[in-house]
């Protein structure tokens, strides 16, 4: 079941991104600026202060560690529907605290910036009511995926730690593994969309 859901959702997101990229190319929206910092794609600028640099660095580390965890968790599951074991499990568990620390740091430092403005709230309301909106350069989706990913990070991490305590029996363990799997999948999907939108915006 989880294997099928994972395949379906990852395929939908990947197709969505491809279609979105193609649509953007057709509209001639992608432009490249002439001079950019080598790490400009992640928002790195020469005049950043220390905290700013740290925030971007944390972002990169968080994404890379999430990528490692995604590969270790989903490679066996998607191909052979096997649970993670062996070295893959060790790498997965070893990377998790790095991701979590970076994610919490990002949450603390970016949360304020990611609040919805009046315009974005209006846009969100309009979108929820299926009304047409003019939202050129809107950050709404980027912010929403940020909050979504952050909200999913907490249960994903807590569920993996909870199984290590002698609180939950076999049934509880199964539920926790399910929670971890599905929140993890959601986290990965939202992060993919978020990173895509951020990169797309940066590379304009």
């Amino acid at each position: 079941m989880f294997q099928s859901i994972s395949w379906a959702s990852l395929t939908v997101v990947a197709l969505g991104i491809v279609i979105h990229v193609c649509a953007g190319l057709g509209a001639g929206q992608v432009k490249r600026k002439a001079k950019r910092h080598p790490l400009g794609w992640c928002g790195w600028e020469n005049d950043l202060d220390k905290l700013g640099k740290l925030k971007r660095l944390a972002g990169i580390v968080a994404v890379v560690s999430l990528l490692v965890m995604t590969l270790t968790a989903f490679s066996g599951r998607l191909i052979a529907n096997e649970l993670m074991t062996g070295y893959a499990l060790m790498i997965h568990v070893g990377t998790a605290p790095v991701f979590l620390l970076c994610a919490v740091f990002l949450l603390i430092t970016w949360a304020h910036q990611c609040r919805l403005t009046e315009d974005e709230r209006a846009e969100l309301t309009a979108r929820l009511c299926f009304q047409p909106v003019k939202a050129k350069d809107s950050l709404l989706l980027i912010k929403l995926t940020f909050w979504g990913a952050m909200f999913l990070t907490v249960p994903a991490c807590l569920s993996s730690v909870a199984v290590m305590f002698t609180i939950f029996g076999t049934h509880g363990q199964d539920v926790l593994v399910g929670v971890h799997q599905y929140t993890g999948l959601g986290l990965v999907l939202l992060t993919i969309i978020h990173v895509y939108l951020v990169l797309r915006r940066r590379l304009k």
């Binding site: 070295y87 998790a96 979590l100 949360a111 907490v154 991490c157 993996s160 199984v163 076999t170």
Partner: protein
């Protein structure tokens, strides 16, 4: 007149015999049903002897009880004889899950050979070491349920039978299935007495004496070979007359479900870490301690195919269709560990699906990730001895003849049974095993025999046909062949012999010209004559000789019977030494001795047919195979030298003493955990005083590097838990803060609207 009386008498006798036969047939299985009443059935019964005659208290020369005739009066004896305990005497028995074999030991010739007719890898069939039914009984009848080998008396026309054994069987009698050994709950039932009678070759008397109904004087093994048991009474059976009522019936306290005390006689295990005076410190299996009995889980029907507790609801680990026919895994699965404690999802009724039989608690396994249940059997954590740095040794009742009281008590140390060894089981899960390292003198040879092939099974020719082949080859021997290499027969010669076998020694034309009406159209496929030699199987396709690869032609290692070894190499092995260094245990063997003994075997004049190559002598011990190469002793790893191990499930420890209970992950995931990194003893008579070990990871097929790394991560696990909890708390607070802010906005916005 006399003629008429004679005729009438004959007729009456015949009618009587027929009536008796019909009555017996009618009564067959009468007591095997169950009308639903749970009251025990009172067994106030008539005892019958071997001839089917009732035994009376007043008999002057009473005979011992025959179980076949006494129990068989109401129960289907032959049906019961199909059960696990009684059907192992033939070579086509069901294998079943790997189990404890018989072990033939001989300290003087440094031998311990696992013996079984079941197709368990690492065991050898009694036939392999020329062990006849008689010899089998001589070796193993101290802990023997009767039946199978006990009733394999050679028939009058059995040309292969040993003449001495042929004469001894009628004196000793058959060792029939001893029903009372299990079902007689009288405290007088004493299997040690049965063992004593068996040691005296009083097989016919074993069950009677063990039941406490009679005493026996006399020893069959001391009687002359020409003793006539029908007319002479040198073995005297004296029944306790007070046990007979006025109708010559005897009350036997028989129960359907045997008490554990009966099972223990053959199925006890002694922990050698605390033997003798400290036996009292041991606990029983937790199930028995709670008041259950073995038969509560190990159940059976009339066929006595007792549940072996290993069937998992989802599969048949035996991989045998025959097994499924005789053993309904769905029913038995409901009484396995999983069936009782977790339920059997494949069961047909709701109660079995729910589990909890006999009040079995459903475990929660708190803190144990589900992956453990995919990799480990229940027994891995719950059964056997708690693992320590080094494996321990145990003795088992059958192997070490435990439970023999009085003068015939033994103190056998061999075989050395190593436990617990955590190894992969047939279903791919890791479980605890008992293990022995085989040690024996043997021969390595490429099989070379004439035989027949039916389907994929190749069977050697019976003796009379083989004699015909020998005669044919000696008559028409090609002198050139014999002078160059007698074992190499020309293709023409092989073809001729195969044709001869096909005709059964008759004239082929005659066979072919038989009228078609005489042939049975529905007959089974005719066995195809074959010759196995030089690693190939030769057969005929039309008139052409073809050779193919076949497992029957693969190089084989077979043990030599200890008796033969004593005969050939007794002096070199010090068989006659009256004061060995160790009593009932390994006597040290040096590599020089091995070389010398192997040379003696090499020089031995083996009884071989002209087409059979000379076998290569080998010695197997401590996981190595020793052989001579260029007059030098060499040792190699070999499949035949691998240890024989069988999964164990008892004693089950209490939950609190199970591995990993209460979150003790370090029980297994510590870098010194005996479960993974334990040291397994390599048992060998070569330098037996020196400690030789192998890593437990080899048996569990585990990657030690990975498990060391994994154990290392457990050092950081508390930190990981703390870090994740703190980080999640901080992140959660931030999320809560912004969630509340968002809520504030929402409430404010909603409040502004009229």
């Amino acid at each position: 007149m006399i003629q008429i009386i004679r005729s009438l008498l004959s007729f009456t006798l015949l009618a009587g015999a027929l009536a008796l036969g019909q009555a017996a047939e009618k009564g067959k299985g009468l007591g095997d049903g169950h009308d639903g009443n749970r009251t025990s059935i009172t067994h106030l019964i008539t005892l019958y002897d071997e001839a089917g005659l009732p035994i009376k208290a007043t008999d002057k020369q009473p005979r011992p009880i025959s179980m076949r005739n006494t129990c068989g009066e109401c129960h289907d004896y032959d049906k019961m004889a199909t059960g696990w305990h009684f059907h192992s005497g033939t070579t086509n028995v069901l294998s079943g899950r790997v189990g404890e074999p018989w072990v033939l030991t001989d300290t003087r010739v440094r031998t311990q050979i696992p013996i079984s007719n079941r197709d368990w890898k690492g065991t050898y069939s009694p036939n392999d070491i020329n062990m006849t039914a008689w010899k089998f009984l001589k070796q193993f009848s101290s802990h023997f349920p009767g039946g199978n080998y006990g009733e394999m008396e050679p028939s009058d026309d059995d040309l292969d039978a040993d003449p001495e054994e042929f004469l001894r069987w009628p004196i000793s009698g058959k060792y029939e299935i001893n029903c009372l050994a299990c079902h007689h709950v009288d405290r007088k039932q004493n299997q040690s007495d049965a063992a004593l009678q068996a040691a005296r070759e009083n097989y016919r008397w074993a069950a009677t004496v063990a039941s406490g109904l009679a005493t026996v004087k006399g020893t069959a093994s001391e009687l002359d070979e020409f003793y006539d048991p029908e007319t002479e009474y040198k073995i005297i059976t004296s029944y306790d007359k007070s046990r007979f009522d006025s109708n010559n019936k005897v009350f036997l306290d028989i129960v359907r479900k045997p008490p554990s005390n009966r099972c223990y006689y053959c199925h006890s295990t002694q922990d050698l870490q605390t033997p003798g005076r400290d036996e009292w410190v041991h606990n029983e299996d937790v199930h028995l301690a709670s008041g259950m009995s073995c038969a509560d889980c190990h159940r059976n029907g009339v066929d006595h195919m007792i549940g072996r507790g290993d069937i998992e609801p989802s599969g048949n680990p035996h991989g045998s269709a025959d097994y499924l026919k005789n053993f309904d895994p769905k029913k038995h699965a409901s009484y396995s560990c999983q069936g009782c404690h977790l339920g059997n999802p494949n069961a047909e009724n709701q109660a079995d699906k729910m589990g909890g039989h006999l009040g079995a608690p459903i475990p929660e396994h708190k803190g144990i990730p589900a992956v453990h249940f995919e990799k480990l059997s229940c027994t891995a954590c719950h059964s056997g001895r708690l693992p320590e740095e080094n494996t321990a040794r145990v003795r088992t009742a059958r192997m070490h003849k435990l439970g023999l009281h009085g003068r015939h008590a033994m103190n056998k140390q061999l075989p050395h049974v190593v436990t617990p060894v955590f190894a992969k089981m047939a279903n791919g899960k890791i479980g605890p095993h008992n293990m022995i390292w085989p040690s024996f003198w043997g021969t390595r040879y490429q099989p070379s025999f004439w035989g027949t092939k039916t389907g994929d099974a190749v069977t050697p020719l019976p003796f009379e046909l083989e004699d015909m082949v020998v005669d044919h080859l000696s008559e028409k021997a090609d002198r050139d062949d014999i002078e160059s290499d007698p074992t190499k027969l020309s293709d023409e010669r092989i073809t001729a012999v195969l044709k001869l076998i096909a005709t059964g020694g008759g004239d082929q034309e005659e066979v072919e010209n038989e009228p078609p009406g005489d042939a049975e159209p529905e007959a089974e496929p005719k066995p195809e004559p074959v010759f196995v030699s030089g690693g190939k199987l030769y057969s005929l396709r039309g008139d052409a000789l073809i050779s193919t690869a076949h497992e029957a032609a693969d190089t084989t290692i077979k043990p030599l019977a200890p008796g033969l070894v004593r005969e050939i190499a007794g002096d070199e092995l010090g068989v006659e030494n009256e004061n060995p260094e160790r009593v009932n245990d390994w006597i040290a063997l040096t590599e020089d001795q091995i070389l010398n003994v192997l040379k003696l075997f090499n020089d031995h004049d083996w009884e071989l047919q002209s087409w059979q190559p000379k076998p290569e002598p080998v010695y197997v011990a401590g996981g190595k195979l020793y052989s001579i190469n260029n007059k030098v002793l060499v040792k190699d790893d070999h499949e035949a030298a691998e240890p024989y191990k069988w999964p164990i499930a008892h004693d089950v420890r209490p939950a609190s003493q199970s591995l990993g209970s209460n979150g003790r992950c370090a029980d297994c995931h510590d870098d010194t955990s005996p479960f993974i990194f334990g040291k397994v003893e390599v048992d060998t008579p070569i330098n037996p005083g020196e400690k030789q070990i192998k890593s437990m990871t080899e048996f569990g097929e585990l990657d030690p590097g990975y498990y060391q790394s994994f154990a290392f991560t457990f050092l950081f696990r508390p930190w990981l838990k703390g870090l994740v909890i703190v980080a999640c708390a901080v992140g959660g607070l931030v999320l809560l803060l912004f969630a509340l802010k968002a809520m504030d906005r929402l409430v404010t916005a909603a409040g502004r609207k009229k």
